[in-house]
Subunit: 247 residues, 2 copies
C-alpha cells in the first residue's frame, strides 16, 4: 500500500485561513514537504508552524530565489523522487502550498511528476487575491464584470490593453515592476480605483489606496487590485488613512 | 456597544472547506443570515448545517430566483435594516456567503449599507474556481499566464476575444448559456483544453472534459475552465473516463 500525496492550499498567511480539511490532513500526514528559499525561513512552513508536531518528518524543497522565480525543473525532479520514497513506504505526504496549489503555484511541478504514480488529492485554498479584496472592503469582481489576473512581468502594452478592457483587475507578482505598473495605471486614469495590498492577512499587512504608496518597489507578496465600480474603501481603512492625513 | 457584522466566505460547498476562522466566527455569532430562494433550501445554509445550533437565530434573506440574478435593491435595504436591529442590540451577525464574499457575491449589497455604521469584517473563502482546478488536476493559471474570468451572459464577441487573448480562462454563470459557449469554444479550437465542472466539492459533483458533456444546459453552479498549457486531466478522472468509455 502506497501513501497518498496531498497538495494543501494554506491560504494567504494567517494560520486561521487554512480550511478545516487542510488542517485535518496536515495533522494526519507523517511527512510534510514545503518550498524553502536557499537562505531564511519557508513562508509556507511559517503559516502552519502552530500545527506541526515533532513527530512529523519535514522535507524542505530548496528553491533558490531568482528574479523570475521559475526554478530549474531538476529541483522538482529530485524532490519528487524523495517524496516517492516516502509514498512507496506507505507514508502520506502533505506538500504545503501558499495560497491555492493551482493558482500560479509550484505544486504543479510535483503533481505532474507524481499524480499518475500515487493517489493524489489537491485541497484548494483561499487565494491572497480574495483576502486582498476583503481587506480593501470592495468587490474583487461583481455582476457581469470581466476579471483579469495579470502577472506584473508582462509587457506594458499587454497590461494596458487588458486593464482597459476589464471591469476588475488583479495584478500579481509585482515586486520590482511596481513603479512601472503604477505609472501605467496613472496613464490609464485609474489610480483612484486602484488599491495596494502587501502581506495580506499577516500581522504586518499593509492595505491602502495605490495613490498613498510612498515606495517605488514592492515585496513579492504584494498585489494591486483595480475595481472600476467603486472608489470607496473599507470604512476601517478609510478612517485610518484619514487619521494619518490629519496627523 | 453594537455588534460586529461578518461576511463569511464558506467555500464551494464541502463543509470541510470552510476556513478555521469562518468556522470559529460562525459558532460565536448569535445571529446567522443567509440568502435563500423563494422556494427550496438555501445553499449557503446547507453548507454550514452541520455547524449550526438551535441557540442561533436564523435570518433568511429571500432572494427570488430570476434569470439574470440581479435582484432588486429593496431586498437588501430591507435585510440591512433587519440586521441593523440585531447589531444595535449588541449581537454579532454572520452573513453566510457561498464561495468568497467579494467574488461575484451579493454580500457587497449588505456591506455597502452597513459597513460604515457597524464594525465589519469580511472573511475570505475558497472560490469554486480554485476547487474546480483542483478537481480537474490542472493549473487554474501558471507562470506568466493571463487568467480571465468571464461571466457566461456576456456577448459572443467579448467572450471569444478574451478567451483568445488569455492563457487561462474561467467561465462562470453558465446555466442556459452553456450550449452557446460550448460552440464558441469549439470554433476557437479549444475544446480539448476545456474542462467542465458542476457542483464542485459536493458528493454529487461532476468533473469531465468539456467534450464529454452530453447535456445542452448546465446548472447555475457550474463552470468551464480552459487551460491552454495542458490537455491532461487528473489521473483519477482520466481513468474513470477511460472505464466509462470501455463499458
Amino acid at each position: 500500500m502506497t501513501g497518498t500525496l496531498y497538495g494543501l492550499g494554506l491560504g494567504p498567511g494567517d494560520p486561521e485561513l487554512l480550511t478545516l480539511k487542510a488542517h485535518r490532513i496536515l495533522k494526519s500526514c507523517p511527512v510534510v514537504a514545503y518550498p524553502a528559499p536557499d537562505t531564511g525561513p519557508s513562508f509556507a512552513r511559517q503559516i502552519v508552524a502552530p500545527y506541526l508536531t515533532a513527530a512529523q518528518l519535514e522535507v524542505p524543497i530548496i528553491v533558490p530565489m531568482r528574479v523570475e522565480r521559475f526554478p530549474a525543473q531538476e529541483i522538482y525532479s529530485q524532490a519528487a523522487e524523495v517524496l516517492a520514497r516516502h509514498l512507496d513506504a506507505g507514508a502520506d505526504v502533505a506538500v504545503l502550498c501558499e495560497g491555492d496549489p493551482f493558482f500560479y503555484g509550484s505544486f504543479m511541478y510535483l503533481f505532474e511528476r507524481l499524480a499518475d504514480r500515487y493517489p493524489t488529492e489537491v485541497v484548494p485554498g483561499v487565494s491572497s487575491m480574495m483576502a486582498a479584496a476583503a481587506g480593501l472592503g470592495r468587490p474583487l469582481a461583481a455582476r457581469n464584470d470581466v476579471l483579469t489576473v495579470l502577472p506584473g512581468p508582462l509587457d506594458d502594452a499587454i497590461l494596458a490593453d487588458r486593464i482597459a478592457a476589464s471591469g476588475a483587475v488583479a495584478i500579481i507578482k509585482i515586486g520590482r515592476h511596481f513603479s512601472r505598473i503604477r505609472s501605467l495605471i496613472a496613464d490609464l486614469g485609474l489610480t483612484a480605483q486602484a488599491g495596494y495590498v502587501e502581506r495580506v492577512s499577516l500581522a504586518e499587512q499593509r492595505l491602502m489606496p495605490l495613490a498613498e504608496v510612498a515606495e517605488d518597489v514592492a515585496p513579492y507578496f504584494s498585489m494591486i487590485l483595480i475595481y472600476k465600480g467603486a472608489e470607496t474603501w473599507h470604512p476601517a481603512l478609510a478612517s485610518r488613512l484619514g487619521a494619518e492625513q490629519g496627523a
